[in-house]
Assembly symmetry: C2
Homo-oligomer: 319 residues x 2
């Protein structure tokens, strides 16, 4: 099937793939000028994220279904970081002429699968022609208590839910054609099918003082929390690796610590919480301390107890 149907036919197809929202909150879905949602009583949380060909993904390294899945999870992850539950998703697709109906269906099926995985639906969006594929996803959610970046307090601990470094290792292994080796499987899956940690965000919502999702790398993203909160975050080096990451890093001939500190797109959620209130599903990876010599930011505690300061790393789209 290499058909390239009209816009209307494609929208009809998308409406079939995306189905209807079972929440009862969606009053108008795909096919009108806008989606309509019944409001609740909680604050609305609203985010937008774009995945652009050649920047966020290489078409030769990701299937269309995985592309739709990843784009949806990347956006939903921002809601996890706010401790919010998603209410619905709109997706804007920019598609070059070579994208067939079959390709579009695969993208949509990936989007739908990801939306269902986090308990919501695609309820609208936009189709446009362009020279490169891009998927812009906006997610609306709600929470009684939005988690910000600026509330981390000295004395608290830093805890994480989700993998570190695995997605970056997976991308390297796919690029080298080693994705079918046994040690590659968890990393490849982490890259292709990341999970927005909505459940973890909800579990942390009532205890966390700050939260963020790891999209650009642990150092960079937790650095946002440290700067916004005016604190120093000290990571415990001994907690950052897992056997899965070590095996994948060995296969990728990469430093597992560097992957854990700088690898992005794992979409783990990192929170700061009182030491005795680490939520279920989270692992302690560090602590929050006052600024040292006026310095705020991130450091790693070495096995001998000294601190190694970390530069801000990770991906800057315009740097």
């Amino acid at each position: 099937m290499t058909a390239r149907s009209s816009e209307r036919a494609r929208i009809d197809m998308l409406a079939r793939v995306f189905g209807t929202d079972g929440s009862g909150r969606t009053i108008v879905g795909i096919g009108d000028d806008a989606a309509v949602i019944a409001p609740g009583r909680e604050p609305l949380v609203w985010t937008l994220d774009a995945q652009v060909e050649g920047i966020h993904f290489r078409r030769d390294l990701v299937s269309m279904a995985d592309l739709g899945y990843r784009a949806t999870m990347a956006a939903a992850s921002d809601l996890a970081a706010m401790g919010a539950s998603p209410l619905g998703i709109l997706a804007g697709l920019v598609l070059p002429a070579y994208v067939t109906d079959e390709d579009l269906r695969a993208i949509a099926e990936g989007q739908h699968e990801a939306a269902e995985e986090v308990g919501t639906q695609i309820i609208g969006g936009n189709l446009a022609r362009g020279q490169e594929i891009s998927i812009t996803t906006t997610v609306l959610g709600e929470t009684p208590r939005p988690l910000g970046r600026s509330g981390a307090k000295p004395g608290e601990v830093v805890a994480i839910a989700g993998p570190l470094g695995l997605s970056a290792a997976g991308l390297v292994l796919i690029g080298r054609g080693r994705e079918h080796e046994a040690d590659a499987a968890p990393a490849v899956r982490a890259y292709r099918r990341p999970l927005a940690r909505i459940t973890a965000g909800l579990a942390a919502r009532d205890v966390a003082s700050a939260a963020i999702d790891v999209s650009d790398g642990l150092t960079r993203d937790v650095g946002h929390v440290a700067r916004a909160s005016g604190v120093l975050v000290v990571l415990d080096r001994s907690t950052l690796l897992t056997p899965e990451l070590e095996r994948a890093a060995a296969l990728a001939e990469a430093d597992p610590y560097q992957l854990a500190l700088e690898g992005g797109e794992d979409y783990a959620v990192v929170v700061t919480v009182p030491e005795d209130r680490v939520p279920a599903g989270f692992k302690r990876i560090g602590r929050v301390v006052p600024p040292q010599d006026g310095k705020i930011g991130i450091a790693v505690e070495q096995t001998n107890g000294t601190l190694a300061w970390l530069d801000e790393r990770g991906y800057d789209h315009f740097g």
Copy 2:
């Protein structure tokens, strides 16, 4: 100024341009994982629209400020068509390497001006690198009574608020370098600075049975209403032209009727209403009748009283 700053510096600049929302409804704006909005009691209306370089605009024919303005209005217009008031806007910008900080500031100023014009603010978004400029805008609004496309009833009249054909004429005149002639001014302005008819949508909200905005052309967009409602819409040919359109069409050497019927991007709002309840600011342009010989769609009544059927025209992104 041809600087190309880091992502963080650019986001700081955007936060300054966009300012803060005076409504008191925005709890968290630019700079966290997501925007947070206090909910009201009314249904939420939510739309997304993309403007892509080479498809929706030519960079040599539109300034960066106008680009930001038009992209914002195009998205806000969907809320006008639902009879909704905007609560906030998120904007996703995909920018090639050649886009300078000055260009970005101009885009943002255009977006900000358009948002203020319709009574709202840009409260978040996303920046990404890409090979071509695209702006994806999502607008959230609310209304006690969302207007759909499917409620038009025989016996009602069709009424419009806003221009017809002027934007298309303006684009032709800009392309031919005739934008500075006196007869071109209203058309050029209609193209560069279109207005989302939020006020008109609100005025029609409690009386209209159906509504749509004219983004792809009158025939095509009102055709959506006719098909969704299972009716025939008969346009009155004598009402479609204005002196401004006739003068601009003459200068563009174009048929003013064709511009009125097929020209897009005017963002007029078209509603169907009882004959005695045409809202202030709307002009009657036709009537709703039952299907004739099983046909639904659009026809134009000629001066001799016969009907000329209109094919669906307008822009199909994949046709």
